[in-house]
Every structure is written in C-alpha cells, then in structure tokens.
C-alpha cells in the first residue's frame, strides 16, 4: 500500500502531488495491478487534507485509466506504468551517472545541473516536433 505525503512548500497543488505520487509508485513498480489505494478516510487521517482533494486526485487517476473505483470496496490499480521501460532503467541510470561525472568534472554544481536538465527536458527535441 502506498503512503502519501505532502510538501507544503512545493507550490504544487495537493491533489496534483497525490497524483504524482501514485504515478511515481506505478512507474517504480511499488504499485502493481490489483493493488488497493488507501481509502479517502485513511489518506485524510494520515496527511490531514480535505477529503475532496483526495476524491479529486482519485477521479483524475481514474480518468487517466490508471485506477478504478469499486463502490464500497475501494480504489484499485488497473494498469502499471512500468511496462518495458523498467528493464531499461538500470542501463540508463549507468549512463546518467557517467554523464553526471562528466558534468561535475566540467565544473557544474548541482544547481547548474538541475537547471540544465530542466531546460533540456522542456526544449522540444527533433523527434517530437
């Protein structure tokens, strides 16, 4: 079962944080098909947020086709986001480590690295245009 937490300083809306955490867990294989998400009551009793926020996040996840709500039983994961990519993670991580070492050697500090990655991810690449 996934445990939610909220970052009050991130500026990301709470319901969005919940969605991101579910997606993250799906991607990392922490949640798999058939797993039950915590009930709304369990979530609000854990992180002290408005139940409507949780409803909204769960509705959005349902809309994205990741979970399904069975009335009176709970909300269940119907699909994972790991698919084939999980297998590729390890080699990609290795490459990233190599790249990070290179970047540090070139004199970039963590902040510059973050900024570089963020701008690069947001810049449309040739394939996607």
């Amino acid at each position: 079962m996934i445990e939610f937490h909220l970052d009050g300083r991130s500026g990301v809306a709470p319901y969005m944080q919940l969605i991101q955490q579910v997606r993250q867990a799906l991607r990392l294989g922490l949640l798999v098909e058939g797993d039950r998400l915590p009930t709304v009551k369990e979530v609000v009793a854990k992180v002290a947020i408005n139940p409507n926020t949780v409803f909204k996040a769960y509705r959005e996840l349902e809309y994205q086709g990741l979970v399904v709500a069975r009335p009176g039983v709970g909300t269940f994961v119907t699909r994972t986001l790991t698919d084939q990519s999980l297998a590729a993670h390890e080699s990609l991580r290795e490459e990233l480590r190599t790249w990070l070492a290179k970047a540090r050697a070139a004199g970039l500090d963590d902040e510059s690295i973050d900024a570089l990655i963020a701008t690069t991810v947001r810049t449309p690449t040739e394939e996607s245009t």
Binding site: L6, G8, G11, P14, V40, K41, V44, A45, K46, V47, A48, I49, N50, P51, N52, T53, V54
Partner: protein, 295 residues
Amino acid sequence: MTAPALKAVGLTKRYGRHHALSDCTLDIPAGRVVGLVGPNGAGKTTLLQLAAGMLAPTAGTIEALGGHPASGADQLAKVGFVAQDTPTYANLSIADHLRFGAHTNPGWSQATAEERIAQLGLDPRQKAGKLSGGQRSQLALTMAIAKRPELLILDEPVASLDPMARREFMKALMGFTADDKASVILSSHLVSDLERVCDYLVVLVASRVQIAGDVDDLLAGHFRLTGPRRELAELPGGVDVIEESHTERQSTLIVRADVPLDGGSFTVEKLTLEDLVLAYLSKAMPARPAWESTR
C-alpha cells in the same frame, strides 16, 4: 436541492457603536470545508457565534442549513459548534462528558466517541481539567463529532495548540468530514492552518467580508503581474487590482481577472493561497505602511 451550509444577507452585529460585523453577505454551499481567515479582531468569532445562534444579529439575517440558528432542538442537533479555547468541565471526567453528550443529543454515537477517546490514548476516568490543551480540544472535537452534526463550526480550533497537536486535530477533523460528508467551517488567523484542508475560503478583515469563494476558483482567478512600471489604465477591462507596489522601474500587481491575461510586457504568475489572502488583508488595512515597503 440541499440548503446552503451558511447563508447570510446584510448580516450586521454592533456592540454600542463598535461594528463587530458589517453588512456581511455569504452563500456557502453544503458539503464543503470552509476556511474563515482574518486577523484577530476581524469579526470571525462574531460571525461563527451568529451562525451557531450564540449571538443574535443587530441587523440582517443568517441561516445555517436553511434553519434559524439555535431555534430549537432540531436545529441544535444539526449544527455542532466548538467554541474558542474549547471549553470543557474541569471537574468532570471524560466519561461524564460523553455521558452528557449521550443524554442531550438524539443522534449521538457513543461508539464513535469511545473509539476516538481510545485512539487518543486517553483514560475515560480522567478529569477534563487535568488534560493538556491539545487533549482538551480533542475532547471537545470528539463531543462535536459524536453528536453527528451536518454542519460543524469550529472557532480557532488550533490557535492554542502546538504543531503536533494541530496536525492531530486536523487529521481527526478531516477523518470526520470524509466519513459523514458533513460541512465544516473553521476559522484561523493563519492561512497555513487552513491551506490543506479548505476547499472554500472566506476572508474577513475589519468586520467585512473581503472575498469568499471556492479555493480552486480563487486561485484560478488571481495573478501576480510583474513588469516595467506603467499606468494601470492600460490593463484590460475585467481586471481588478487588489494590491500594487512600485519601484522606480518595476510594478508588481496582484489582480483578480475574469478574462484571460495575455501578459504583454507583464509576467503573469499564479498565486499561492497565502499570497492571495495577504493581498486582501493589506488592501483592507491600508494603514500599515510597513507592509508596503516590505513588498
């Protein structure tokens, strides 16, 4: 159609010549968690006590769940009220308090009450006077929850609590709203207390309602514009300036906009709830020059 949780029209409360609440008009739908924010002395307690029927208005009307506040046992059963500083009977035990609730409320759930007391790790034989502030407010909340009201009103419930007790209190309160689909109205002078839990916000400053609305709508309709200094007349129609501050070259505006803002030479940013509330606070309290200069 369900009656609104709270409906006020021209609601005014005066003490002699002092206006505690002026011409307040609200229509808060049921099923929401409503945050009532404002500085100390803004009239939050007055508004909540009017809603609970502890006070009678000087002028105007107020209805809670479509009924006249405290007009009878039925109305009292529908509306729960936890007063500021969560009063309890110091020389009576927790069990006595629960028995009191059971004797006086038709919808009382003893199971809920006992379960909560057990969860809190409290001994029912303990006298309320021996409890810590946090435990006392939990007892008051337990009584209000076990009463099973459709509308629960809480006046500054966490103001006197430490951060740990605050969190525990909010968890319990949110657990209740998830269970019972009840409406909740709670006040605080700190937005941070309410940010996570509220989906509806009322800002009360200097005895007047400055703004009230759905939190998502409020956030979607307010922006911070930063850009080179220029005249306000250049802003498109449908844009209200809430707060402005200028340096020699730059202007920072907090605006409410019903129309899309293309920005132009201005950078358009979304606001956090806290920024939004602060903008309305400083708008309603202009006699604070220190505020201007720090922005």
